[in-house]
Symmetry: C2
Subunit: 466 residues, 2 copies
């Protein structure tokens, strides 16, 4: 049977179609400018195919279990004055408003300053250190600020013993991760430190089998969550799994009820489990020589960075974009900070913006239309190496989510990963202003490709441009 693939001018497709030949219409675009030679080099790299196969297998082989909840000082060894943040490395001087606001809140929360407004001078003076969460096996949504007294979810891949970490979700509105630092933010953080964290730790310890975070993600994707900006079903399943041990742990019933109300009232609570589960999976592919799979996408509010399996821990960065979407109250595009947070680890693992087809109600939060949401998932398959059979989308006849962003496919098609995200106010202290859709800056992919090509050449790979 003859089949014809057409691109560009639709007249040819129509003509062939009229002759009864099956036609597949492909939205062809030229490769990204300047990538021709590097694409040829990487395509010819003898390591590539097997490396990508191993990278996919490694990612899909990971299952994440919730094994502990503990202070960052204990599990990450953070000390007073040490702060983690979302995205690639950045200094206080280049930090955006919401990241500064989050750091100000955290400095006050740790008792390093009496008033958050006193913190900038201390950061400017270099009294405190800043490092990416990603450099400590951790991820953080939005500002992603972690300080020693914050409690962390501890996720483990039972097969390898590897662990990843993420702070506890504060809810919406005026919260640290969106850059707010008013007194209510600090009051909530103290309650999370004194009540929420310790009770969750006891509940996790008292649950006969560790909560299967990867399994909850499987279910969520059949329940209208895409696990980045919708985590409603996931949060409810976490409550279901932890609540029997929580009520039996001997804690004051009033505290238990308050924990149930806090978690049950925050549809985003599970995001902070989805994110480290995705990191745990993707980290399994780090450092596989020749692999062109993206293993991290992260933003600090100023820079957007990616890391790639075959290029070690190197960051390829460009300017973070301002999302397009829907705004809360009177806020508008001028109020929005550029893209921020480690939460794009969800898209890197094939959910979030990559799985919007399974969560069409998300368009009421991030904008766009239902057909757009379905199309986004289909489009992401074009730049991915695999489908994840564990995470399937019922409405697409149970097709697995597109998984393993391939730097070469992005460069060859010009199709950029689709991320959905919350938007922080660009002025420190504002909080959330909206939610929307965004992509990475295009240039990070040719930069990563160039490095992959350079490494291939250094191994003796030959570029065949015939």
């Amino acid at each position: 049977m003859t089949a014809v693939v057409t691109t560009g001018v639709p007249l040819l497709a129509d003509a062939v179609d009229a002759q009864g030949v099956p036609v597949t219409r492909v939205d062809w675009r030229p490769p990204m400018p300047g990538t021709r030679d590097d694409l040829a080099t990487v395509a010819a790299d003898p390591l590539r195919a097997d490396a990508n196969r191993r990278a996919v297998e490694a990612v899909l082989g990971v299952t994440a279990s919730l094994v502990d909840v503990a202070p960052a000082s204990e599990v990450l060894g953070l000390e007073a004055g040490q702060f983690l943040h979302a995205g690639p490395p950045i200094t206080w001087e280049r930090a955006s408003g919401p990241l500064r606001g989050g750091l100000m809140a955290a400095a006050a929360f740790e008792g390093l300053v009496d008033d958050p407004e006193d913190a900038p001078a201390r950061f400017e003076r270099g009294d405190f250190t800043l490092e990416p969460c990603h450099h400590h096996s951790a991820v953080g949504p939005m500002a992603g600020v972690v300080s020693p007294s914050m409690w962390m979810f501890v996720l483990e891949d039972r097969a390898s013993g590897r662990r990843t970490f993420c702070s506890l979700n504060e809810g919406l509105g005026k919260v640290l991760r969106y850059g707010a630092y008013e007194p209510s933010v600090l009051t909530r953080l103290r309650w999370m430190r004194d009540v929420l964290g310790p009770l969750l730790r006891r509940a996790v310890a008292g649950t006969p089998e560790p909560v299967d975070v990867t399994g909850i993600l499987t279910q969520m994707l059949q329940m209208g969550d895409e696990a980045h900006n919708r985590n409603r079903a996931g949060t409810l399943m976490l409550l279901r799994d932890l609540s029997p041990a929580l009520v039996s742990c001997g804690a004051d019933p009033a505290d238990v009820a308050e924990v149930l109300r806090f978690v049950g009232g925050n549809d985003h609570f599970f995001l902070n489990l989805a994110m480290p589960a995705c990191k745990l999976a993707l980290d399994a592919a780090r450092g596989i020589e020749g692999a062109t799979m993206v293993v991290a996408m992260a933003r600090n509010g100023t820079d957007f960075g990616i890391q790639v399996a075959g290029t070690g821990d190197e960051w390829f960065t460009g300017p973070a974009q301002v999302p397009e979407g829907l705004f809360l109250g009177d806020f508008g595009p001028d109020d929005a900070n550029p893209d921020i947070g480690d939460s794009a680890i969800t898209e890197t693992a094939g959910i979030g913006g990559f799985a919007m087809a399974t969560a069409p109600a998300i368009v009421r939060l991030v904008g766009g239309s239902v057909p757009d949401a379905l199309a986004a998932t289909r489009r992401m398959h074009e730049i991915c190496l695999a489908e994840n059979p564990r995470w399937s989308i019922p409405v697409l006849e149970f097709q697995g989510v597109p998984t393993g962003i391939d730097v070469t496919r992005v460069c060859r098609t010009g199709i950029l990963p689709q991320i959905n995200t919350g938007m922080a106010g660009k002025v420190a202290g504002t909080g959330q202003v909206g939610a929307g859709l965004v992509t990475p800056p295009a240039e990070v992919f040719p930069a990563a490709l160039a490095r992959l090509a350079e490494l291939a050449r250094s191994r003796g790979a030959v570029t065949d441009l015939r």
Copy 2:
């Protein structure tokens, strides 16, 4: 602008299409045999249009809140030896295996017999009475057996004060509602009577605002539940709403934990709230003269019956069909009892089989394909009077579920309501054997139409057959 509606031979449609005229293709079928005169009479009934408008408004105006959990003896006034069952009225002699099995379990549970096997003789002798749940403002899934000591959800329409009732869901497998009566069934029923019911009552009493069952249904439909055979998200939201009061009610924490485990481990628990919420809405349209809207579809395992807004409490019945679907373990079609249960009240209200488009994962349980599920919802719009703006389906661009089955549209198109359902073993004591898809027997709709026509004629309506 000219538009053309075509039926039958597609050549005409193609020809018109080729001329650039918008074409709507309709799957036209002849009316059901023998309905021509009655259709004409009812169409000419001057009451009809306004009656149906009022019926739709009445149904859509109801909101269901969970206001109590209490024994049937207390809220329904049931006395020893009184049993309710699903579907239209039936005698022991004509009762199917699963209904008999459920009644045998209930008789033993009430202490009327020592051994369930002793119960048939007592029923045959006429020692006990049988009445439909629907005659007591109640509904029951599958066998739908209610006896005085069973605890009931009490739902209330806050505006009118009307109430409906449903028993508590036992979970899957060997359970009374599927006709099982072995010792484990009775042990579970006793625990539900002694622990689950009383604790839920205290939780409901201690919850500041009554649980908004209609609102949970709105959310469920955005979370992959169609609220008949998928109630996973609904069950989790019920837990979320009740658990803070449950842990604060002063009960033994071990009992609280067991209640949380039982409800959290039974994805169908919310069905027994969805059903009375649907009945509460539909009962608002009962008795509206001239209205052709179906207000109940119910099966007792032998007969399938419908009730219609404009015909009072009269049942129109025909033989219940055996569903087509998927079977558990070694069970097959020969093991399945005909359709049973009041749960088709969900389809009558526009969810369940009518909302399968929003729950494509349901095909893994009831059979069929994802496109079938999407098509089923679209097809049901053809026989319904309205869409429910409160219950919308994201993937269909937030279209409201098809609501208010119109007897005249069913007769005119021959399209039968699509029900999804569990399947009980036809031998008493078996339990569940599968789940599948089923429709009412076609003849109940012409029978209801004939009665509507008769009533219209008695009011002086003129049949215009020109």
